[in-house]
Symmetry: C2
Subunit: 222 residues, 2 copies
């Protein structure tokens, strides 16, 4: 590894991984930067540059071995580190993540779920125990947790995050649509802001509509 790798590169790595897995599943054993680029809409140059930030994974004249490249990228992304996670806030978003998201496949081991709902406390969801959110501090004193999936209601996001940080959690996967600002520089926050995503789609829809209107006007000649 050569110095700090830019965020742009980091965010392309999971896309490479996803495509490589797909190709591996469909039986492909080797792939060139040109072919991978075609599949993902990236230039071959960019792909070779990206990989070369981390090492030499290819073979001249041959390309990349799909399986070994997939493994290399998994290592880079820390998939093999099996970080321990808890999920805080078992509302509908929380539940849907537990049911549908393959934490294990991304190298994350979901240890426990916390909520205030007495109907849920004591049960298991997908084999993961649901505990009382009031016992969270106690739990964190006894267990080493690498990352918290934050799926509490927006109104409780700031206070929940603060409490978790005070208890030593310093990575957050944040679904609350609230901006979590880390007070310490070593706290990591990854936001999944649904509304930001939808609004940028909305922008492009509006832009497209305006362009079509303009084109039509030109076609009509006014």
């Amino acid at each position: 590894m050569k110095g700090k790798v830019s965020d742009n590169v980091i965010r392309r790595m999971p896309k490479y991984l996803r495509e490589l897995k797909r190709q591996e599943d469909s039986g492909l054993t080797r792939i060139s930067s040109t072919e991978l680029g075609r599949l993902l809409g990236f230039s071959p140059s960019q792909i070779r540059q990206d990989f070369s930030s981390f090492g030499e994974f290819g073979v001249q004249g041959y390309g990349y071995n799909v399986q070994s490249l997939r493994e290399q990228i998994e290592n880079i992304l820390g998939v093999n580190r099996s970080y321990k996670a808890i999920l805080v806030g078992c509302g509908s978003i929380g539940k849907s993540l537990i049911h549908n998201f393959c934490f294990e496949e991304q190298g994350i081991s979901l240890q426990a779920v916390f909520d205030l709902d007495t109907d849920l406390i004591g049960t298991k969801i997908k084999g993961v125990p649901v505990y009382d959110a009031l016992d969270l501090q106690e739990y964190l004193a006894e267990h080493s947790i690498d990352v918290a999936v934050l799926t509490v209601p927006q109104s409780k996001a700031k206070s929940a995050a603060k409490m978790l940080m005070d208890c030593g959690v310093h990575a957050f996967w944040n679904f609350t649509n609230e901006e979590i600002v880390p007070p310490y520089s070593d706290v990591l926050v990854e936001n999944v802001h649904f509304s930001d995503s939808l609004l940028s789609l909305s922008y492009y829809m509006a832009e497209r509509a305006d362009n079509q209107k303009r084109t039509k006007r030109i076609a009509v000649g006014s």
Copy 2:
């Protein structure tokens, strides 16, 4: 508006909007680029550059009026256009979006939900009717829909998207973790790839862990 605005700029606009709403709610009436930058971690220059892609929204020596800037950005993002949406696939992710996500606040009007589950068909969720997914083509022939929220199981993502495109839907908010490749250039796809998000967080967690290990080694002097 001056030429095509870069995707980087577009994706910052919802963040401005979110912060401006928050400030407006807390009673602030004017804000400078410096102050807005401090709140979001952007430079004042960048903020002024971003806004100037769309027009002149500020006043020299004063700054920006919070309310009018918020309205301008809403217009830019198309929030006032009230696009019509359907949600396809009412599993747990779909349900949680219907229950928790404020479509109306983002200028999206959710018209109908489609699923195969006979227990759901005929009911309403949050006032939105659930119809039989088998009647989707018929529905689309009769209703003009701007965007489909794609929340079907991953295995059905490709075929569902194809069918919807064939029926004239040409914008997708895709939650399926499947890459939807638009066959026509005028189809817009906005992906919410949970695993990409989590894997980049995982990378930064791994990087931080490695740095700390290195620092410790240096401190110990070996």
